[in-house]
């Protein structure tokens, strides 16, 4: 697994990096947000501390799922109508990253995929079916904050609309509609009882 260190430009603390392509690192010592670009590190703001919630997944605590080991290195939280969900950026044995979404015991493993062309949030209404995918959830979310290292830039308070589409066989397809971009993720739901935390 990739390992590197940077120093926080604000407080000078040594910060570990576990993913070669990380773009964002939160300093757990001073709360600074650091933008990583090539070899350069740039201070881009301050983070508020995420409230501590019970979670099976914890930063830097490896877990096993379907014979694969994962190390959570980053964590973002999003508020939505009913509450919040957590997204964990995890690195597998091969050094590849993927997202684990957790919402009160609903676990999903997802990877970012190419965004379908000519789509809009309004096109996806609850209960509609598109190419075998059923719209099971749609709503509006706001980034509540993050910790650790992440593969993309996130901004606290940034909001977006989202759609979850499901297919038989526990398949999941998520779309996130930001003001200037759309992100797509594909993956599957997971049973939390099949996730074994190491140690």
């Amino acid at each position: 697994m990739y390992q590197n260190n940077i120093n926080c430009p604000q407080c000078g603390s040594a910060l570990a990096l576990n993913f070669r392509h990380s773009k964002l690192r939160a300093c757990e010592h001073c709360g600074s947000t650091i933008f990583l670009e090539d070899e350069a590190v740039k201070l881009i703001g301050k983070q508020s501390v995420l409230s501590e919630e019970a979670s099976l997944v914890q930063l830097q605590q490896p877990f096993n799922y379907e014979k694969q080991s994962y190390l959570p290195v980053g964590h973002a939280r999003y508020q939505y109508d009913n509450g919040f969900w957590d997204e964990w950026w995890v690195i597998n044995n091969a050094g590849n990253g993927l997202w684990v979404t957790v919402d009160e015991g609903d676990f999903a493993f997802e990877r970012q995929v190419a965004t379908p062309e000519n789509i809009s949030f309004d096109h996806y209404q609850l209960g509609n079916e598109t190419q075998g995918w059923l719209v099971t959830e749609r709503g509006h979310a706001v980034c509540d904050g993050f910790e650790g290292e992440l593969p993309e830039l996130l901004y606290q308070g940034e909001s977006f609309n989202y759609v979850h589409l499901s297919k038989p066989g526990a398949e999941l397809f998520s779309l996130e509609f930001f003001e200037k971009k759309i992100k797509a993720f594909k993956g599957h739901w997971a049973d939390p009882f099949e996730i074994q935390v190491e140690g």
């Binding site: 099976l56 919402d103 015991g105 009882f193």
Partner: protein
């Protein structure tokens, strides 16, 4: 991991204090005092009220009770009592902040831990005949039954809006101790994966001290026998070993033949016939098998083996001392058989007599040295096989009772 956070509100209908243990996915809160169904996602506005509902008299758990299920701490946050075809049962909605929502089903004293699954079966359960196979992921289940159920009581927090009188259709397939079920109501179809949990474990985990009656069998119970199962488990490898040993002895260790000949009996004139034969033994202190085959073994009286050089009796065989020697009369195969050892190599004499009152014909003498007896291994093999068969029969009987619950 931690326990759920507790919040309190007052019922927006009757003002009764209510504790909330679950999270943000709760869709309804039913006041156990006045039966008001509230919407937690809309400032607990009252959706309906069922003041006539009666709490079940046989509920071992109540909202707020806590215990571990599969090692994970859960809190009972709500409950639904169902009724179908003369039976009633309780579904307890349980919540874990780390593992989410699940159901703990209590029926006839038995418990099933039920979780929603997004994995679908390879065919619809509704069209299946009893015992038809259906697959979910890599697991094969047998279709068990389908039925309609009606809600007779609701209390606490639930992940869906349940009201007294609502009905649901259920189809179930089993692979004990696991269950795969499909639930259909007028809004949606959901799939559940269940696992039977021993009542003793639930009682211990949730500190249930009161005794509740338990039905003798549940459709998801695993066959269990304190005596027969361990016995059969032990017997299986032993049966294999005994079979191999018996087979090896029969094929490779029957020894070498010393004498095989038809016996000629001489009349002694005192109501007996007798005969005497000499045979040579080259391997002392090895088992010698002596067999007299006849059509009437009961007529044979005594047989004696002596060392010719010393006249010393090596073994006395006969009806009178059968209990003290390796001697047996087998009426079915009509033979007299003895196994013994001699101290030295040399010539030995076998003499025996028979009663002339009973006809003795066609007596054949067979003497084998360096013999290895397989009889005890054979009996042990039979005993092991019997243990396996009895356990198998007991298991079949249990399975038959499991299916009789729905087939009668």
């Amino acid at each position: 991991m931690s326990e759920s956070k507790i919040r309190s509100i007052n019922c927006t209908s009757c003002g009764a204090p209510l504790k909330l243990h679950a999270g943000h996915k709760i869709k309804s809160l039913t006041c156990e005092y006045c039966g008001a169904v509230m919407n937690p996602q809309d400032e607990f506005s009252v959706l309906a009220k069922f003041s006539e509902q009666q709490p079940p008299s046989h509920s071992p758990l109540k909202t707020g009770d806590q215990g571990k299920l599969k090692g994970v701490p859960f809190t009972v946050v709500g409950m639904i009592e169902w009724y179908a075809e003369g039976d009633s049962w309780i579904d307890y909605q349980v919540f874990s902040p780390t593992h989410g929502y699940a159901w703990l089903v209590y029926e006839t004293g038995h418990w099933v831990f039920l979780r929603r699954t997004r994995n679908l079966p390879n065919k619809s359960l509704w069209t299946l005949k009893r015992r038809a196979k259906v697959k979910m992921k890599q697991q094969t289940f047998l279709f068990y039954e389908k039925f309609n159920a009606k809600i007779t009581y609701v209390a606490g927090e639930l992940t869906w809006i349940a009201r007294m009188g609502d009905t649901t259709s259920l189809a179930e397939a089993i692979d004990p101790p696991y269950l795969f079920s499909e639930e259909r109501n007028k809004y949606e179809t959901e799939y559940y994966f269940g696992e039977y949990i021993e009542a003793t474990e639930i009682k211990q985990q949730f500190n249930i001290s009161k005794h509740y009656p338990v039905a003798p069998i549940h459709r998801l119970q695993r066959y269990k026998s304190k005596f027969l199962q361990p016995l059969a488990k032990v017997a299986k490898p032993f049966a294999f070993v005994f079979f191999i040993i018996s087979f090896a002895i029969l094929i490779f260790m029957q020894g070498s033949s010393v004498m095989v000949k038809p016996v000629v009996m001489k009349n002694t004139g005192n109501g007996q016939v007798q005969s005497s034969y000499e045979f040579s033994i080259s391997k002392p202190n090895h088992l010698i098998l002596l067999t007299l085959n006849t059509h009437n073994a009961n007529a044979l009286l005594n047989a004696r083996v002596k060392q010719r050089a010393t006249g010393k009796t090596i073994i006395n065989l006969g009806k009178n001392n059968a209990k003290t020697s390796e001697y047996r009369i087998d009426k079915r195969i009509r033979s007299v058989e003895a196994s013994f050892e001699v101290p030295k190599a040399g010539i030995y004499t076998l003499s025996f007599s028979a009663n002339t009152q009973l006809p003795v014909k066609k007596v054949k003498l067979v003497i084998t040295e360096n013999h290895v007896g397989s009889r005890y291994f054979f009996w042990l093999l039979l005993f092991s096989l019997a243990a396996i068969l009895i356990s198998s029969f007991s298991r079949r009987s249990f399975e038959s009772q499991r299916w009789k619950l729905v087939e009668d």
